[in-house]
Symmetry: D3
């Protein structure tokens, strides 16, 4: 791996600083503001004592996610999807990904017949908004679950393992961890990796952007991702411990 200083001075294997503000909004059962470098996402977990029709009377719950960006979260203002009258393919893809990821962290039977909606609203975007949404969304979900336990709604915390996510990529031939926007937009390969605290994969999505990658490059990217996710999971656990004085 060549040694190249990145625009913000990071090494290739370094992720950006992560900051969590717990209980960022006052109504949601769980909420955080997650900041990953300049990327900022409000994640809230909302509990609803119902399940979608396809799960009725099965004794199981559901986790779903929604994702959106404020119109000026980016350098150029984007039209609102509400004004367009429909979600873009990108939004749908991302919110399906977040939901799938978070469902891998929980025992849906222990959750019981309720739905948790994790809303991820990007306030400011500088690359990695979907992975920040997953990492922050897990904390919001975790705050909500622990609260349901303390309120007596749940007998037992249904979470089974932390889930976190990070991006990796190949920029100018060099594998790099946690791409910021300028890196991401010039990357030959862009990969999002979601793992749990046991070091298992929940999802790997690696895309050549009008380009391709070899098995060796794939391996290098996965190694960077594993390292980054391990660090993110430590942050998550620290926050949850602090919140509940565990």
């Amino acid at each position: 791996m060549t040694h190249i200083k990145r625009e913000d001075g990071r090494e290739n294997f370094e992720k950006r600083p992560v900051k969590i503000t717990r209980n960022y909004t006052m109504y949601a059962e769980g909420s955080v503001l997650i900041e990953v470098g300049n990327t900022k996402v409000i994640c809230t977990a909302s509990v609803n004592e119902k399940v979608p029709p396809f799960l009725k009377n099965q004794g199981k719950g559901w986790i779903t996610a929604e994702y959106s960006m404020l119109p000026r979260a980016t350098d150029e203002r984007n039209m609102r999807e509400a004004a367009k009258g429909k979600l873009t393919g990108r939004t749908m893809e991302i919110q399906r990904l977040i939901g799938r990821a978070l469902r891998a962290s929980i025992d849906l039977e222990k959750l019981g017949e309720r739905t948790i909606t994790v809303d991820c609203d990007v306030i400011q975007a500088d690359g990695g908004t979907r992975t920040a949404s997953i990492t922050g969304g897990y904390i919001a979900l975790s705050l909500a679950m622990e609260r349901l336990v303390r309120m007596g709604t749940l007998k037992e915390n249904p979470l089974t393992s932390n889930i976190a996510a990070i991006s990796v990529g190949i920029v100018n031939g060099v594998p790099m961890l946690d791409l910021k926007y300028t890196e991401d937009s010039s990357a030959e390969v862009d990969m999002n990796v979601i793992m749990n605290c046991k070091g298992e994969f929940v999802e790997v999505q690696g895309t050549g952007e009008e380009s391709t990658y070899t098995r060796e490059e794939l391996n290098k990217m996965l190694e960077l991702a594993e390292k980054g996710i391990k660090e993110l999971i430590e942050v998550q656990e620290q926050e949850i411990r602090e919140e509940f004085s565990l």
Copy 2:
């Protein structure tokens, strides 16, 4: 006017504390987070060097506004308008109101052929989100305009007078300033007042909620609103002075 202590200890003629965080996001030409009590709105002003078709080649600019609430800005989660595929009547009414209000603060000819979009995204709602959007939106607009002047894009600041807005209402027969959500939802009359720094009205909207009000009550509400708006305009001016060390 009867003397009744309000839920949060305010007098009837007292508005809630207002806090402005300037430059809340990094991309917009102007941006603030405005907090009015527990109501929090991100207001950004985005400059676009185009005008809508109906204004083409008239040497005039345009101000438009968009308004939205995060799904869990409220006690119960609301479905996203992007997911519904259309804006509600309430949203359209509010964003038309904000746009009209802000257009009354500016000389559109001096703005030249450009459009300013003021986005008001409610992070947390506790009553008065539309009036907070106008008060905060004006500051975002003002930051953007002064910057265009300093960058040389504009020769002269096109703003002609500050605009601020506040709600008043009648709750249990008593006129009150700046209703929080619990007050608003039990009010007999709900009025939004928008004024400029010269003490003139830009818009008055007073609605009996399955109720009515007399001319005398209307007058009392307008007096409360005038007092509140004067205070809000002082806050606005203080922020703008600080930003530009005027």
Copy 3:
């Protein structure tokens, strides 16, 4: 108040002639054609023995309104909202206003669990279509209510007070009653006032059109509106008396 002859010869304090054709269509429980000068609106009140979901099992009824213009009700043909696939913000704002206004005229508990939909379809538009819709809509509602009483569906007429509406504005610095289209489109201030037969306000909406107005001007406009609404309520009462030989 300066003395200026208006385009159609009216004094500033004069409203346009109003003509009501009762039972204009044959299926609706109540229907009128209201003509205010050249503005013509068909108002029908339709009774449905159901309430919207948010009112189920509360022993209360509901009044809702819908508003539309025929495409060639105006000088230039407008595209149909059905063809666009959505209601404009203007339409939503107006139909919400009409519904709110009419709900202030009735005891919803006495109405019982039924919904009245008041449809206001503008056949020809020459200013003041929303206020004509409210004034005419009230008569259609009133015809329907009295009929339900006579048919024995209702024990008692649930209407509590007449509601009528009129526009006022400031044109070339002069406050004027009941603006026709050419006046409205050049007005500095446009205000819609809705009152009941007791002289109380149901709604006041006064908007500076890229302009502002003083407290004194507000007062003058409200006086004109009060006078106009008193006259409209006499017309309404006359029509209802004639219909039912009261």
Copy 4:
């Protein structure tokens, strides 16, 4: 043909009385209210000095039609298509039919590069709304065309032959002319016939409603239709003569 008295006393071969109110609205280049028995349709012809993209620069004009019913034009209130956000199949089918029919009455090259939109808005529906729309729409179109000639916009009237339409059907085994709603809804066969003043067919649409019909029945229905259309064309010509004192 069996002799059966119809609900409203008509013979099988009798159409309902037709009443035309010319210039029913004040803005459209041509407008009528057509009443066929209790069916009432406002037809307006609006001229636009543009053609749709597929006809650009071909020296030809276009006629298009739109059709709608007021929500309470019928015995039960129908939801507005604008509120549903889309046109029903029935509406699309009808407005395509009206447009096709009217295009058969005109020389589109003589019309020049302009579009005439014929709006047919049903105020009250008692069967035969699509055929009344065509018959009335032709008069509105004709008033508009003659006016364009008199204003000097057109050198020559581009209309080539009157077009009118009527329904026929088989009710309880008996062929009948001009079905009213109660007849139409119990008809075994429902046929709409559009012809010109030369006795030629523009369109024939005959539908068995969960039923079928023989060649002989088809012939009988066509004879009734021919008779009815001849009478309608006389009404049209009378109206046009009166309007222009021809």
Copy 5:
């Protein structure tokens, strides 16, 4: 009738060759690929043990149809209706026609409370797609019905008579049977005829394309159609016999 050789060598009274591939797809209760010359349509009949709301608890079933074209079924690629977000008027008109036609072939009471959806997806279009959909749709329906009988779901086959459809038209003044696309697009008159095996009409739709036709021409077209439909019904019966070794 003048004698003119057609582009593909057919006589005016000759239909194109018809080929049926039964059980073209493996999931549907009934399915065929119908090829009429170069026009190819996949028709499937899907059984659902429910009825639409307007038929609930009436002991009757329902037949409905949907029609679509693959984007490149035609010479120029057409945008998908799913991408446009709505069905075109043409599609709605066609699928309503197919549904009506097939309902005339069946005793809906004997079908019982179930819905059959006949999907007609045009793989390749060379004129006559709607009539091929009806002719092929009937076979798919028939395969499904016979299967429900053999499975014991139905006691008795509810079909009452074969239904088939064909187009006729007038091209360069000459009546012709079964128009291919190049003929159809230059036809003065275009007529679709749907008949049953008893020689009765289910539907006749004859349209002058900016043209008209006489009674005599109508008669000639109907004769051609009768001949063509008789041949199509033989094909249908042959296929059904082969399938069930009747």
Copy 6:
């Protein structure tokens, strides 16, 4: 790797039989029917001499893809997206994936300012529809490109390397190649792999379905995929050689 006989008798490392019918439809510049076991997809490549707005005047072309399933391509009939009025998230995700994959096979500059739309319409679905769409879509694209070369529209074939795709997964703990529907729906992990003829990855998407997978399992799945794709690319090359007698 445990040895388990699969439902259809295949070994874990065996893909299903693949059958290509070239020139399946007559209008598209390139078209095939691809059958992978019981999965059948019509792939057409349509050439348009325009590019989307974001590519205007850059001397580059574009490849885009659309994906759809016939309603009865599956065991239970699915509602059409055109009837729902919008694409599902699944469809959008798949068509974005196909487009990205095919763009990795071509030099967009050599394509010149034209757009190729690859339509993938699933006639019958038995697992692996998205990978079959990519594998078949590449052949359709390739037929179209070679034809443009032979017609002289392109100087040089812009394709740079074959692209094919296959699914792998873990079913009951066992990695398997090319899952059919019953396998896919019970898989713990589902992975789609897209590679080129040089053995490089274009895209890897591996998803734990409420489950996770280890690095070792990931490696095994990638090996199976590489083997399968090598075989698919041989099929592709054979077809292209036969078509053009290369």
